[in-house]
Symmetry: D2
Subunit: 352 residues, 4 copies
């Protein structure tokens, strides 16, 4: 039985981790860390877990926790983990970080986009970017530190990856228009996230400045083998869960001026996702919908070729709290401990 500790257990991502781990047959949660609710019963904060979880919330003492846990999940604000992580901790336990602290290899890029100093860049080299479908080979029992990808990032990368990797699109024409449910904004008490402000409303935010941009650029850069600069625009949607990505790029024309065919594009997706448990390439002409993956670890992707403009429109949908956060963290844990990758993640999406 793997002993897991969670720091930041009462945020939405932390809460989802707790939910998922109840259904994981090889794991037991030994620490519900939540500075705001210390000594309060966890199930009083999340009543859905009433009579299911009996533990009380505890402090954020990572050092102490490192002794008790085989793996620590940190669902904490940016900069927290970087400020407290030590070699001593990593030598005793594994860490899966749901924050952005170890996602970006270039510390100056991190510091520019996040506006904070990185306190432990020495761990950046060993941190593995935990996008399982792409980095699976590097997430092994030997790995100590996993940087769990962001929600927008996971959806954006998986949507565009095969075409970037296969060189089927012009990398610098890539534009990602992303739409997110409101749980992505967290459980902090802010006026802008009140029901009446979000409901019956839609808006873009963080235009040309959202922090997930460099993370997407770095990973897609690895895919196509060169630096990528892209446009990324997040939007807030009046729904609890779900991210939908609509991505646009110019197709690379062949020497004869023709566009890649529907079949060629489809083959590229199949090459990378054909064997994947959690990525579903939909049938032609079926657009991904967030509702079809809700509550599950699936990512649904598809594409449409626009002959008129020479572009391809790529689409992807996932549940931001599952594949976009807690589910992917569990998937990473499974890889770290040599378990079946889908253990605890076999939930069928819930509709309606």
């Amino acid at each position: 039985m793997i002993k897991a500790g969670i720091i930041g257990a009462t945020g939405y991502a932390g809460g989802e981790l707790v939910r998922l781990l109840q259904g994981h047959r090889e794991t037991q949660i030994v620490w519900y860390g939540s500075k705001s609710y210390i000594d309060q019963k966890y199930s009083e904060v999340y009543q859905n877990l009433f009579r299911i979880v009996e533990d009380v919330c505890r402090d954020d003492r990572l050092n102490e926790l490192a002794d008790e846990a085989d793996v620590i999940f940190t669902a904490t604000p940016q900069g927290f983990l970087a400020g407290v992580l030590t070699e001593e901790i990593l030598s005793r336990t594994k860490v899966i970080d749901l924050s952005a602290d170890y996602r970006i290899k270039d510390v100056s890029v991190y510091e520019k986009w996040y506006g904070i100093e990185h306190k432990s860049p020495q761990f950046l080299p060993e941190a593995v970017y935990g996008l399982c479908e792409i980095n699976r080979g590097r997430i092994t029992p030997a790995t100590r530190l996993v940087a769990n990808p962001g929600c927008y990032t996971t959806c954006s990368i998986l949507t565009a990856y095969p075409l970037m990797k296969e060189g089927l699109i012009e990398a610098d024409t890539l534009i990602i228009d992303a739409k997110s449910g409101t749980s992505g904004a967290g459980r902090g008490a802010k006026v802008q996230n009140l029901f009446c402000e979000v409901n019956e409303n839609m808006k873009a935010y963080g235009v040309a400045s959202h922090r997930h941009t460099p993370e997407i650029e770095e990973q897609l850069g690895y895919a196509c083998g060169k630096n990528v600069t892209l446009s990324f625009t997040p939007h807030l949607v009046p729904m609890n869960r779900g991210i939908l990505v609509t991505a646009y790029a110019s197709l690379k024309r062949k020497p004869d001026g023709s566009l890649p065919s529907e079949g060629e594009i489809r083959s590229a997706y199949e090459k990378y996702y054909g064997e994947e448990r959690f990525v579903r390439l939909l049938k032609p002409n079926v657009c991904p919908e967030t509702k079809w993956v809700e509550g599950s670890n699936y990512v649904d992707v598809n594409f449409v070729i626009d002959e008129r403009t020479g572009r391809v429109v790529m689409m992807g949908a996932l549940d931001n709290l599952v594949k976009g956060a807690a589910g992917q963290a569990v998937q990473n844990m499974n890889l770290l401990f040599g378990l079946r990758e889908s253990e605890g993640l076999e939930m069928v999406p819930c509709f309606p």
Copy 2:
């Protein structure tokens, strides 16, 4: 492995059955019946099941199905099952009916409230009302026909049952004000259920005439040992899932004129639900919320004593598609086949 067939597999309750049975370790679905989608892939109707269910939809041929299936779930319009059920079918398979056809013992009451003739009243005596927490003893491997309770009904009965059973309230003062998510209205294409008609709106409907009324009256009548006439008002709420019941009744005063105490009322609830897996009596002062049970088979109940009026306000919340339909049907199936009652139903509620 139990072989299960579903008639009406593409309605919302049918779809939920399919979802739940994917996680049931002892069951295999052998027949996806859906007259509207014959020969179409089930996962094209419910894309959430893409790459999970590969079967195509089939016709409603109950007779043929009776040979293939150990149990048949009928999630069909009122009157359908009563019109086709035969001794021959029941001699070969078990039937769990999610419609109202065999819920009401008095055929004249059924015919009056539903406005249709009952075509096979001969099966009414043997049909068992499948509210597991109350009728568990009668749902056994010997049972052939289960009348799975309605969604409003399950929530209403379980909310009021202990106080009715223990004679703590005046039966004829009972008023049930129920609020339901829109999936309860089904997947039929009707203007009144369009997004724009339901969203940002709330209304009562079927006032003093809703068909679930006699079903609640009959069951609560058994509880208190006499005929009960009550007020039941359903409301439509702009949410997908969930039923919330707020029930009002005058407390029976003791000979000295005093009201039952908080402790006495609580004891009554604990007496009936203390050992129940799926009914959670909340802590004092915590009101049930539909979101805390969403996607799960739980019913959350609680109460508040109003000293000023001498009434008790009883509250209950469940997911209409799970405990209010498909989940309860699976719970009944588990009892019918001698399995662990919670098999396939151990989902933690999903929040947010």
Copy 3:
């Protein structure tokens, strides 16, 4: 041109007042009071008013405002106005208070339910309860202080008033089950009002203890000429605006044991509302829906007689920010200044 000042102009009720007064031909807002946003442009807080309102927010200085304004609207927390109101202010301007400070005549009842000391009970006798349809005769140019009714209260009273007044129901059997959109919870940044907590959820709250209860009891007590004790349960609904009231009461039987007829009940409603501009008695069998009154000053009411239980189910719907707050305040202002009662309130409900 009437000069109006608003204290608490950046709450939802205050914002609605601003919206409504833009369409009022006889009024000009001279003071946008908002302690939280002093010196900030009002239209930066409410972008819907961009290029419509150019003023900046100002402090809550009631004394200074009394010199500038012919009427002051206070959309402030309980206790604020009672703490600052003076004879000097009232001698210079009229005050329409959207808080509860002067709604309840018995100061001990106020202090018990609100849990605060009333600082200026000397103004209670002259304060007029501003439910125009019932108290119109007392809201005149001579009136200085209007206690604008609460949102739940307005809906509850108007729904039950005719039958209480005409003695057609047993007063002490009255049970009011009310459902409210989330704007009624205000614009404060609280976790429980975040989008993800409210959306796809429904719950009761303040059971047997909500502060609007004594206000309803007092007014309905005047109607039937005796003290009334009733059950009132508010619920939170995932929609922005709207209150729906479902009220239950036993009909008074006639000496021969028969119930009042549909026609008799309807006549009672028509007697009080037949000439009312803003109360619409719907056609038989049409249930009020909050969406049909959204954005307008209308209250829709109707009823169903339940022969089986001898009860009547009364229903009412209004927009909590209009007829339940700002619209009624404008209606009161119109009466105070001898204007046409519907001036500025002739908006057609907005659907969908």
Copy 4:
């Protein structure tokens, strides 16, 4: 008093026209055309108009209506008006068509995208495209036929127009990602528009094939003086009203390789919209939100320059039923009859 007739009065756009015209001081509706509800009271179909509109619905007899009405609004399916319009009708009355029949000058483009034959192309030359802010000079008392723009179209064009017109962006790099509330899908009873299918869901549809594409291309082509081919992707959002457009284009670099400055872009918007009543250019860094224009005729626009990619992100928001349909139709009517352009359209947006 202008006499107006509406054909298709019971669709959502028709209903909004009725709502707006109640507040128009120079117009009277003389004909509520609705084939589906002939002889039924209009206010039974739209209960928000109970006691406000007393008329009954009538047939679609355009010829007869032409004698009674000074102006006819047709809110009808594609092809209807083209099939019945005659010179005789146009010689007697004005027609404002909310369908697409006369929006596209090139009949072959219309027939290709709409898949139907155009039955009266002879009226195409005289039809004026009724986007008031751009075509105002051509919408005059002499005009007989106005092609009222589509909802996506109005928002898309107004968002990009100044930069296209001023040649600040590379026309063929334009990508429009549009998000719409569900009322845009109409009031037809379709499964895909049921509450449970739309709520908590988001999807793209009509990718690379939506019918509004050529309309946007034609109008923006006029703006920049050459043919434009662009990408347009509509999305369905779980809200009743509102369209949000996020548009991307590469900025034209100056001879020295530099990008246009923030000030230059802003000036272009101010040049075209500075004096416009209904187009609001927001302050820098404020993103348009659909809620801030709800229920009103406003379009809010703004932009962000992305120095990294050399692109500009343009954003626009409007209410699809007002500025995107009925409001613009009224604006056109005002121009046709020489009235103040904003008559009947001065509603302040409703928040929340």
